[in-house]
Amino acid sequence: MSYYLQLLLNGVIAGAVYALFAVGLTLVYGVFRFINFAHAELISWGAYLALMFSSPPVSLPLYLAVIPAIVLTAVIGLSQDWFIYRPLRRGSPITLLIASIGLSYMLRNVLRLIWGSDLMTFSLPPARAFEFSGYYVTGIQLLMLASALLFLMILYLLLTKSLIGKSLRATADNLELAAIMGVSMPKVSAVVWTLASVFAAAGGILLALDTNLEPMMGGANLIKAFAAVLLGGAGNVWGALLGGLFIGIAENLSVAFFSPGYKDFVSFAVIFLLLLFRPRGIFGLLTGVR
């Protein structure tokens, strides 16, 4: 029994990070109606930039290094929109999708150019996990959980209490109407991309702290994030959160029954089945950012 509960615990923590990724992805989809493949690179770049700032010559302590890392990732995210997606917005959605695939491949290779394809780490010494009556949680895993909760809390306040948050939700509901009513599209755009990038970078750094860094780390998690987005219904922020948790738990529990090599298969299967049978998601939402 304790075997399954430990898996469940690992799943919840992994799910919290997937939720971060999924929320960013779903925000972009909710407002702009396209799936940004390059979101994967926002995750990887966040982590690698943190590595860069915490290594020589800059050598900031890690908790400080994350700040410029996240800021720069937001710059990357905003540039993606400004230079490439914005001009293409009037075109067909497929053009945007292909462009995002190309951009993702490009950014990933810039990463490989600079840091190589090898695994890298933050070089933290291994630390024993905390034990609670037979269950193990490491300090980093607790940090992941806490950070995810913090970020999501801030997002909730932003979306419900602030003016920009309300503008965002209005835009997601109806792009043209929001513009007519005077909601500033560039402003909403900037906020969405910043939020998506910040969340992606934060999640990427947490992931790298927990395991290692490698150029495909974003891509591997993008699919899971997308599965979570679909579960929750595209554009539904709370759905993405729950979706992320579900994927994390399902993945980890699956290891008890199938070979660990099939762990990723879970998210793929979820996506495939959902697209076929319930494209609106379990929480069946129609449109908009909720």
Binding site: L7, N10, P125, P126, Y136, V255
Partner: protein, 360 residues
């Protein structure tokens, strides 16, 4: 540009004797590939300083295989079809090597390995040789180590590629034949960043010892995550994990690991000469893993090329066999058996006080 390039190829048209090298200069094995290249170049320099091959300088044409099997196939095709080289130093990883064996055998190109250990390679064919011992021997070594430490029930995990799968098979056979019991066994994938599911699975069987046959990065990650999750077992590993990098990546978690590796004495005159030459050419660099094998490979090849009656495939092949008889390289006796394999003695290593030491 391409035409000019093509005019210059062909081992007999120029004054040099050329051989090819299918090397991981980029990709995930590039950090080792660099070391192999350095060792090969050191040997090459010595060969040419000593008069080359019957007065002609020897040259190695390096072709990058990107550390992948597809890359290795592409590289060997270029070396065979464009450069028309009759002898090639094969790619590093066993899987990559196995991918190109059939091509070399079909084209009657002599293919030599300095790092590939998979037992499968013994079946590659008459044109394939290696100066590195087959894992058929190491599997026995690991089983003996496990038994000598009185562990008769272990969990077995191994990296999911030719090297790991082959070595695990041999270990299993020997271990169970001697009465050992394998509580659980499973493969783990290469290059993953998270092996916690695997660690949990190991814990489920509650073993005292785990035989973990894997590479350096994967090994370090498993050790680290096991340590973090409070899994306390005796880790028994193979030669592929024996590296200071393992300790660097895993830190405290690597303490106490015991493993096997093919040893060679560091007291022989050959080794001492090699070390002196290395320190002279590369003063700031440590001898890379497999460096000695690469060096021996080039030196032995030079001897064979000098002995060969001609550059015909069969003559070259025979020369390789003849050159190996009783050849004492840096890494020991390089006599080839009927499969093109060499013998080995297996020693034991351990990690003590964050350093790799011999285990007594």
């Amino acid at each position: 540009m391409m035409c000019v390039f093509l005019l210059c190829t062909g081992p007999l048209s120029a004054a040099e004797v050329k051989v090819g090298s299918n090397t991981p200069l980029s990709g995930k094995l590039s950090v080792y590939g660099e070391g192999f290249q350095q060792a090969m170049l050191l040997a090459l320099e010595e060969v040419n300083a000593g008069g080359g091959i019957k007065g002609r300088p020897m040259q190695i044409v390096f072709e990058d295989n990107n550390s992948t099997a597809a890359g290795a196939v592409s590289a060997i095709q270029k070396l065979i079809t464009v450069d028309k080289l009759p002898l090639i130093f094969g790619p590093a990883a066993s899987s990559n090597f196995l991918a190109v064996c059939p091509i070399a055998q079909q084209n009657k190109t002599v293919l030599i390995a300095a790092e590939s250990a998979a037992a499968e390679i013994s079946k590659c064919g008459s044109f394939v040789f290696r100066v590195f011992p087959s894992d058929a021997l190491q599997g026995i070594g690991v089983a003996e180590l496990t038994q000598s430490l009185k562990y008769d029930q272990v969990v077995l995990t191994y990296i999911n590629n030719d090297w790991g799968v082959g070595l695990a098979e041999i270990f299993k056979k020997k271990f169970t034949a001697a009465g050992g019991k394998i509580l659980d066994e499973f493969a783990h994938d290469e290059g993953k960043t998270d092996y916690r599911s695997e660690v949990l699975r190991i814990r489920k069987s509650n073993p005292k010892a785990v035989v973990n046959l894997t590479y350096i990065k994967e090994g370090a990650t498993v050790l680290k995550q096991a340590y973090e999750n409070g899994l306390k077992v005796q880790w028994l590993m193979g030669s592929a994990s024996k590296s200071p990098k393992l300790v660097e990546l895993a830190g405290e978690a690597a303490e106490g690991v015991i493993g096997t590796y093919p040893t060679f004495s560091q007291e022989t005159p050959q080794y001492k000469a090699f070390k002196a030459a290395w320190d002279k050419k590369y003063p700031d660099k440590k001898i890379p893993v497999f460096g000695e094998y690469n060096y021996d490979m080039v030196k032995l090849t030079a001897k064979a090329l000098g002995m060969a009656k001609s550059m015909d495939p069969d003559d070259l092949r025979q020369a390789m066999i003849d050159a190996g008889k009783g050849y004492m390289g840096v890494t020991g006796d390089k006599t080839f058996d009927e499969n093109g394999d060499v013998g080995a003695v297996y020693g034991r290593w351990t990690v003590k006080q964050q350093e790799i030491q011999d285990f007594k």
